[in-house]
Each structure stands twice: as structure tokens, then as C-alpha cells.
């Protein structure tokens, strides 16, 4: 799941400042799950912005709120057309993808991000989220016992641990587990410690061509051999 965090209220107030009528648009999928931009957050933000406006006595904005099931597909946005016509800007509480899909779908309306899209991760417990995947495009989890060193090691090294590990924790943050110690312990438990002895050549992340595209559909011409 994509995890994000709502932008500070000051920043949101700054970016919406030029626009009078603002639609606060939530997303019913990842942003709801990570508590950054679901229906409740949209309504909370709406209330907070109103309070700010009331207390600073420079009330010029009018806010409306709505939450779609998912912002990252055009089809979910179709129902928004009428609402969008009535506003000067959309503050999207969707992830960075949502913001861009909205921008593409509504070319004439400014779209502003209300959250900082942070990482792909999981809920550790209620109210705590951890990063788990860097979307590097070349998964090595088979060799590292299901624990990703690229994401979870501060240095992202493929041959760890480094000398900075101490009592199983990382030198960069003593509350953070050393990913390579975790990998070692789990390999030991799985009796696959030989995987530690192999050398993995460093990867050049700069060669990843961006933006990436994945094509599942095959390039076929109907009508000739197969119907």
C-alpha cells in the first residue's frame, strides 16, 4: 500500500491561497487506509481550514468535500465533472499518482497536493506505518529471506551487514533494526545461511529508465488466424 502523510496546515493554506472555491478531494483506497486522505481526513481538514479562516478573519475561501473510491483511475473521476466545474482548484488528498491523474482528467482546473506521498509500506500497528518496498524493479527478496535490504538498510547495501551494526541496530538510528542482522537471523532459522556467503554485485539504480511502463496486453491483430 502507498503511505502518505498530510501536509502541514500552513503549507496547505499557502498553496490554496490564490483560489477561492476549493474542492477537497479524498481517496477511498490507500489514503484512507494510511489515514492521510480518506473521508474522515477530508472532513477534518475541511473543519481545520474553516477554523483557521474564522480565526484569521481573512475568510475568502469556500470549501467543498468529496471522496472518490480511487483517484488513480479516470473512470472513478467521471462523476466529479460537475463538482469540478464549480471550483477554482482541487486539493487532492490522493497520493502523487492521484494528483496527476486528476490533472490529466481535468486539464482546465489547477490540482494541488494535500499530502506528501512517502513510501510503500505496511501498518505496524494502529497509527504506525513502516516502509517496506522501494519499487526497484528487480526483486532480490528470494536471496535475502524476504527482508528487503534496499528499503530497510539505511545504506541500501546488497552485501551486508556493514561495520555500523551494533547489537542488531543500525548506527544511523539506534532504534532501527539492522536489516542485514534480520536477514542473517532469518536465513539461519531457515537453514539457508549459505546465501550470506555469496557476493551480490552492486546495482546501478541510475539505469532504471523513467517513467517506467508495463505492458501486459499482447500486440495482436484480430481476424487473420485466430478469429
Amino acid at each position: 500500500m502507498i503511505v502518505a502523510e498530510q501536509k502541514p496546515l500552513e503549507e496547505i493554506r499557502r498553496i490554496i491561497a490564490p483560489y477561492e472555491r476549493v474542492l477537497l478531494l479524498g481517496c477511498g483506497t490507500c489514503m484512507t487506509v494510511c489515514g492521510a486522505g480518506g473521508e474522515r481526513e477530508v472532513s477534518f481538514l475541511n473543519s481545520a481550514l474553516r477554523v483557521a479562516q474564522a480565526k484569521s478573519s481573512d475568510g475568502i475561501h469556500s470549501f467543498s468535500e468529496y471522496t472518490v473510491k480511487r483517484q488513480c483511475d479516470f473512470e472513478f473521476l467521471d462523476s466529479l465533472a460537475d463538482k469540478v466545474n464549480e471550483v477554482d482548484a482541487i486539493l487532492s488528498l490522493g497520493c502523487g499518482i492521484g494528483v496527476q491523474v486528476i490533472a490529466e482528467r481535468f486539464p482546465d482546473t489547477p490540482v494541488l497536493p494535500g499530502v506528501n506521498t512517502s513510501f510503500m509500506g505496511m501498518a505496524k500497528e494502529w497509527g504506525v506505518w513502516d516502509e517496506r518496498c522501494a519499487a526497484c524493479g528487480d526483486c532480490r527478496l528470494a536471496e535475502t529471506a524476504g527482508i528487503c535490504p534496499i528499503t530497510r538498510c539505511t545504506k541500501g547495501i546488497l552485501n551486508g551487514p556493514c561495520a555500523g551494526t551494533k547489537n542488531g541496530k543500525c548506527e544511523a538510528n539506534k532504534d532501527m533494526d539492522c536489516a542485514w542482522i534480520l536477514i542473517y537471523k532469518r536465513l539461519e532459522r531457515l537453514q539457508q545461511l549459505e546465501k550470506m556467503r555469496r557476493y551480490y554485485p552492486p546495482r546501478n539504480f541510475r539505469v532504471i529508465p523513467r517513467p517506467r511502463r508495463i505492458v501486459m496486453k499482447a500486440d495482436v491483430e484480430p481476424g487473420e488466424d485466430n478469429g
Binding site: 502541514p8 496546515l9 500552513e10 477511498g28 483506497t29 484512507t32 487506509v33 489515514g35 480518506g38 473521508e39 474522515r40 481526513e41 472532513s43 477534518f44 473543519s47 481545520a48 474553516r50 477554523v51 483557521a52 474564522a54 480565526k55 484569521s56 478573519s57 471522496t67 473510491k69 501498518a123 500497528e125 494502529w126 497509527g127
Partner: protein, 699 residues
């Protein structure tokens, strides 16, 4: 109101709530959860209103109901059931039931005769008057009330209570014909009555059928209680035996104690576990010095030398009978003799229906009726109460009287019976051990009783009333079965698992299909998941619970705007427990300048939006007062503090001082809260002034 009967059935305050087991068990199907919750909020008058909606004579039930609701109460799976009857008594006394005057208009022309003035007859007359029919009650004895008057002793049901209800009926326009035994139904029809309700009770004691039953000194329980209750003082001697194990036997034995006999023994052929009398009755009888002899049955009685010689046989328990109770079997050669001055038989009663009524009788000489319409074999003749069921409870009789009134209405209006449809779903299922484990155990508070020594001297009411604090605390124990949370908008649910993670009772779970389920039979209605669900997909089942805070808040904001007093402080205060009436009420009464109280039914239901709304509408400060660890639900304080922190962060980002939002724990003594609140008010005053100065400087 076109039709009282139809309007009564239309009310549905439950919304999507499920009918809790207590309400299902109640013969009158009273909205028990509703009035218990109102008592917990200290709203006794509203509680009484709810009670009166379904019960014509709550003051009577408050004394004598056998409370099947308490037997069904799911709190007994956690610790002990809620003391529902005692709470009803509290609501009746403190809610001012005595002061209620009822009027009824005559809108129909068909006269109805009610034969018998027991609880069923009185209830039937009550509802027929509400429906607008002229009603006459015929009573063979000099006083009205049937078993309420001649069967139930005064220490359980004071006579004034019955008198009050009878007076109320007379005020409603019911015609009373006491000392009038109806000998022929044809005569009633000749007199112009269009329908007759026969509810003559079951006053005839059953005979034991043993030798010597006719001896002087042997008296049957019904006759004995009738004499005592009509003010006679039968002479009984010193040593008295009562045969039987039901409520009549208990009543007789306890009446004998009050008449001054030195030794009272109850002879019962089974053991205590099989006694049909209410456990409280048995307990109180024992406290008053009544002796019990179990597994003993008299076989022969003989009068000689002024005393009664009773031959008894010992019994043992054999196989269970059809009713599930173990059948007593005599032990061979176990006869023994005992001597008493008097023996009272109380082994059961049956109705005595005049043959001239020409009614078809069934088992135990009860009147045969259609269970739905209560019609007998004769057109226009309905029957109910003990005369139909055999000896039963007061509440069952009231229910039967109500049913009869509605069916008579249908009959006279030539209408197909408006039978209660089981439209609403009932709550079933046991609490799971993991849920029970998390529910706070709170001891059941019993209402005080007169000490046994004081009881034995007179016929005064034994049970006293709760004080305010005890009643409120007892009512707070209610688990609110069937009123919990549900995912109303499945399409909104993102399956984020927040509800599953925040529920203190481990109620929500993921089913095999990956959908979140909140089982209604486990939910404790604390409201935490409702306030936390990021998709706002969860709601409480009862509409009132959903709207309550919004409505109260808007009301306070409106009142505040009208009064224009400054600085404006909004206080969200828990309405449950004593706080609704203690510290909170004093705030209200003193009307502290600019403080407006929004009562909430547990602060855990308070959402961030509510608090921000208060600030938006001009509040300079907001405080939340909950009952902290004294709350009957788990983790409520934790979640309130989570939300408070969140809002304080938002406030500081807006440029408002976070201290403008404060929490108080009302569990602290009242003085402390008052002081803390004074400090808070003062501080808000300062902040308010400072911000005004800042504004001035700016401009």
C-alpha cells in the same frame, strides 16, 4: 392520532438496532434498554415516559414483576444481570409517576364489559379507554385489583399503589361495579355490552387429595391470603406448616410470620432447586425465619387434642417429568409424624368458571381461547389472564389484558387483527469468552431491603428504593445489546482494519472472503470504531446515538450565539454516570458566564470534527470532561486523548494556543473539577484578551 393501537405499533426508535433479549423476554416487550440507558443519564422523567409507553401500570410492575428480563440479561454472562425491576421502581418513584394524570375521550359507542378487576382486567380497561370505548369493570369482591389485592401481600405490593392505579382508571372514565358477581354473560349482552372480556383469575386452591384435608385447622393458601389481605387476622396458633413451593406458599409463610406465629415451616416435596417461587422470595422468607423442609409430602392429617397431627413421607427425586423438573418419588417406610396448630395448603390454583357462562374449558379448568385473538367459543366473548393460562405472573396478565383490548378493538371495528408483526430483528447469541474477558466487571447493586427483624412485625414494603447514585451506577452496567456499531456503507469500507485494531473487545473480524464483520451480538456500542473509521463507513445502529452530539452541539452554539456572552467556552461532558447530574448539573445551574455544556453519551463518541466545529463557530476554548477510569467501557480515555493531541497539533498550526483545548477527569472530586475549570476559564479569558490586543495592533 387516528388510531391509538396502530400508532403504538408504529414507533421504532431502534432504527437498525436489534431487539435485545431483555425486551424479547418481557411479556409486555418494554423497551428496557432504552429506559435503563435514560436512568444511566439521570433522565428519570424520560425513562418513566418510555416505561409508560408499554406498561399501563409501571408502579405495580416495579414492585411485583418477576423480571424475566433479568433472567435473559446478557450481562449475567459477564458478572450479574442488570437489576432492571429495581431500576424501574427508581424511575417510577423519582420520575413522578404518582403525579401523572391520564385523560381519555370516548370516541366509540360500543360498550365493553370487563369481568374481573385483576391486572388483566385493569390493563384491558386502560387500553380500551385509550382506544375510546366506554368500559365497565365488574368485580365480585368489594375492592378492585383481583390478585393484586387479595393474593399478593402488602409487604410486596402496598395497597396505595393499587388504589392509585384504580383511581387513575376511574379518572379516565372507567365505570366500576364492585360487589357485583356476573352470573350470566347473556345478561351483559342484554344490557347493551357489545364485547365482554372474562378475566376472573385462578382463585380456587387445588386439593391435595389426602385423608383429613377437611379437618379444622387446614386452610387453603388462596383463602388464607385473601382473608389476610382483606384485613382479617385469622387465628393460626404457634406452629404453622405451609405445603407447597411456589410464590403463594412463600407469601403465605411470610404472612404467617407477620401474624405472629412462632414457628413456620414450609413442606415441599422436591428440593430447593426445583422450587417455582422466585429466588428472592425464598431468600427473603428464609431471612425472616421461615423454616424449610424439603423432600417431604403430607399423606394423612388428623385433628386431635386441639392440634393437627400430620403424617408425612420422605421423597427422593427420580426422572425428570415433561416440564423438566425431577419427579419426586416417595421413599418406602419413611413415614413420620409432626404436629402443627394450622396447616396451609398452597400446591396450586385453578380458575373457577361458572357453567352458566357456557364457555369451553380446557386443561385445569382454564378457558380455551385462540392464542392470537383471545376469542372464546362465544361470539364477542374474549378471555385472558390467569383464567386462561392458570396461575401466572402479573406482567403476563397485563400483556394479556393489552392484547385483549386490541383484539376487542379489531373485533368491534370489523377489522382483521393488527397483530404485532415480527418486523424487527432480535439479537441472539452468547457473548464470546474473548469479549467477556475485556468487559469491565462492575458489581450489581441491589436496592436496600428492610432488615428482617423490622419486616417480621408488620406488612410494610420490604424493598426500599435505590438512591440516585446507586441507580445511575447500576444502569451504567447495561451492555446496550443490539445497539452497537455496524458497517453501514460496505462500498466505502477500505478494509483498512482500523476497527479491528481499535476495538477494545476484539469484536470486528475478517471473514474468509476478506470482508470485515462486526458481529452485532458481541459489540459493546462504545463507539470508538465509529469515531476512528477513516472511511466513515461505520455507524451506531440507533439513529439517536448517531445524531446526538451534532444536535446537542448545534443547540449549544445557537444558544450561545443568542446570549452573546464572552468568552465562549464549549464543554463536552459525559452525560453518563453521576456526571450528568453532579458536577455537570452544577455548571448548568450556576450558568457560568459563557460556558456552554454539550452533553455527550460517552466522550469516546466525540469526533475531531465536533471539537473543530466548536472553534469554528467562535469558541475561544473547549474542554472535554469524561469519567476517566470510572467509565463502564474500556479505553475511552485513551482514544479521547489521541484525538485531543491531534487537534492540539492542528490548533498550533493555525496559530491558536493548544491549551485552548483541555480535558478534565470528572472522576476527581467535584471541588477539584470546579477549581480546574475556573483556572481554565481564566486562562481562556487571558488568551482571548491577548488575541484581541494583537488584532488591534495589527490593524
Amino acid at each position: 392520532m387516528d388510531n391509538y393501537q396502530a400508532s403504538r405499533m408504529r414507533k421504532a426508535s431502534h432504527g437498525r438496532g436489534l431487539i435485545p433479549p431483555c425486551q424479547v423476554a418481557c411479556p409486555l416487550h418494554m423497551e428496557i434498554g432504552e429506559y435503563v440507558d435514560l436512568v444511566a443519564q439521570g433522565k428519570v422523567m424520560e425513562a418513566l415516559q418510555v416505561i409508560r409507553d408499554d406498561n399501563p401500570f409501571p408502579s405495580i410492575c416495579a414492585y411485583v414483576c418477576t423480571h424475566p428480563c433479568e433472567d435473559a440479561c446478557r450481562r449475567s454472562q459477564v458478572d450479574k444481570s442488570i437489576a432492571i425491576r429495581a431500576l424501574k421502581r427508581f424511575a417510577v418513584e423519582f420520575g413522578g409517576d404518582r403525579m401523572i394524570q391520564l385523560e381519555a375521550e370516548t370516541t366509540q359507542s360500543e360498550k365493553v364489559a370487563v369481568v374481573g378487576s385483576g391486572p388483566a382486567g385493569l390493563a384491558c380497561a386502560y387500553y380500551l379507554r385509550k382506544l375510546g370505548y366506554p368500559v365497565t369493570i365488574f368485580e365480585a369482591y368489594s375492592e378492585l385489583g383481583g390478585m393484586l389485592r387479595v393474593g399478593i401481600p402488602q409487604y410486596r405490593l402496598p395497597r396505595e399503589v393499587v388504589d392509585t392505579e384504580v383511581q387513575r382508571l376511574i379518572h379516565m372514565g372507567v365505570e366500576i361495579k364492585a360487589n357485583t358477581r356476573v352470573i350470566s354473560l347473556d345478561l351483559l349482552f342484554d344490557m347493551g355490552y357489545k364485547a365482554v372480556f372474562i378475566t376472573v383469575g385462578a382463585h380456587q386452591s387445588l386439593r391435595m387429595g389426602i385423608e383429613g384435608e377437611e379437618s379444622p385447622g387446614v386452610i387453603d393458601g388462596a383463602t388464607f391470603l385473601r382473608e389476610v389481605n382483606l384485613g382479617l387476622k385469622p387465628s393460626l396458633g404457634e406452629k404453622v406448616a405451609v405445603v407447597g413451593g411456589g410464590n403463594v406458599a412463600m407469601d403465605a409463610a411470610r404472612a404467617v410470620v407477620r401474624l405472629g406465629a412462632s414457628k413456620v415451616s414450609i413442606l415441599y416435596r422436591r428440593s430447593r432447586a426445583e422450587m417455582p417461587a422466585g429466588p428472592d422470595e425464598i431468600e427473603q422468607a428464609l431471612e425472616e425465619g421461615v423454616e424449610t423442609m424439603f423432600l417431604v409430602a403430607p399423606t394423612k392429617m388428623k385433628r386431635g387434642n386441639g392440634r393437627l397431627s400430620v403424617t408425612c413421607v420422605r421423597m427422593e427425586l427420580g426422572e425428570p417429568d415433561a416440564g423438566g423438573r425431577r419427579r419426586p418419588v416417595p421413599i418406602e417406610d419413611s413415614e413420620f409424624n409432626m404436629e402443627f396448630d394450622t396447616l396451609i395448603t398452597a400446591i396450586g390454583q385453578a380458575p373457577q368458571i361458572s357453567e352458566d357462562f357456557r364457555l369451553r374449558l380446557g386443561r385445569g379448568s382454564t378457558i380455551q381461547v385462540d392464542p392470537v385473538t383471545l376469542t372464546t367459543n362465544r361470539t364477542g366473548v374474549f378471555a385472558g389472564g390467569d383464567a386462561v393460562t392458570g396461575p401466572a405472573t402479573v406482567t403476563q396478565a397485563l400483556a394479556s389484558g393489552r392484547q385483549a383490548a386490541f383484539r376487542i378493538d379489531d373485533y368491534l371495528r370489523h377489522r382483521y387483527p393488527l397483530v404485532d408483526k415480527e418486523a424487527e430483528e432480535t439479537l441472539s447469541g452468547e457473548l464470546l469468552p474473548k469479549t467477556i474477558e475485556m468487559i469491565r466487571k462492575i458489581e450489581r447493586l441491589e436496592p436496600p431491603l428492610l432488615p428482617p427483624k423490622a419486616r417480621a412485625k408488620e406488612f410494610k414494603s420490604v424493598e426500599l428504593i435505590y438512591n440516585w447514585e446507586a441507580a445511575v451506577n447500576e444502569a451504567r452496567r447495561c451492555l446496550r445489546c443490539g445497539m452497537g456499531a455496524e458497517i453501514l456503507f460496505q462500498d466505502k469500507c477500505a478494509t483498512c482494519l482500523t476497527c479491528l485494531r481499535v476495538c477494545p473487545y476484539h469484536v470486528p473480524y475478517l471473514d474468509e472472503g476478506g470482508t470485515i464483520q462486526i458481529p452485532a451480538d458481541q459489540c459493546q456500542a462504545c463507539g470508538i470504531c465509529v469515531a476512528e473509521c477513516p472511511a466513515k463507513a461505520i455507524v451506531l445502529r440507533k439513529p439517536y446515538d448517531r445524531r446526538h452530539i451534532d444536535e446537542e452541539l448545534e443547540h449549544a452554539l445557537k444558544s450561545a450565539a443568542e446570549s452573546k456572552s464572552k468568552p465562549l467556552i464549549i464543554g463536552f461532558c459525559c452525560q453518563y454516570g453521576l456526571f450528568g447530574t453532579g458536577a455537570l448539573a452544577s455548571l448548568w445551574r450556576e450558568g457560568k458566564a459563557g460556558i456552554w455544556i454539550v452533553p455527550v453519551l460517552c466522550v469516546a463518541k466525540l469526533e475531531g470534527g465536533h471539537i473543530l466545529r466548536a472553534f469554528e463557530m467562535g469558541a475561544e476554548g473547549v474542554f472535554i470532561a469524561g469519567c476517566g477510569e470510572q467509565c463502564s467501557r474500556e479505553n475511552t480515555a485513551f482514544w479521547v486523548l489521541q484525538r485531543v493531541e491531534r487537534i492540539r497539533r492542528a490548533l498550533s498550526q493555525i496559530g491558536l494556543e493548544p491549551e485552548r483545548l483541555q480535558t478534565f477527569n470528572l472522576r476527581a472530586t467535584e471541588g477539584d473539577t470546579a477549581e480546574a475549570l475556573d483556572n481554565f476559564t481564566e486562562r481562556i479569558g487571558e488568551l482571548c484578551l491577548a488575541s484581541i490586543i494583537k488584532q488591534e495592533v495589527k490593524s
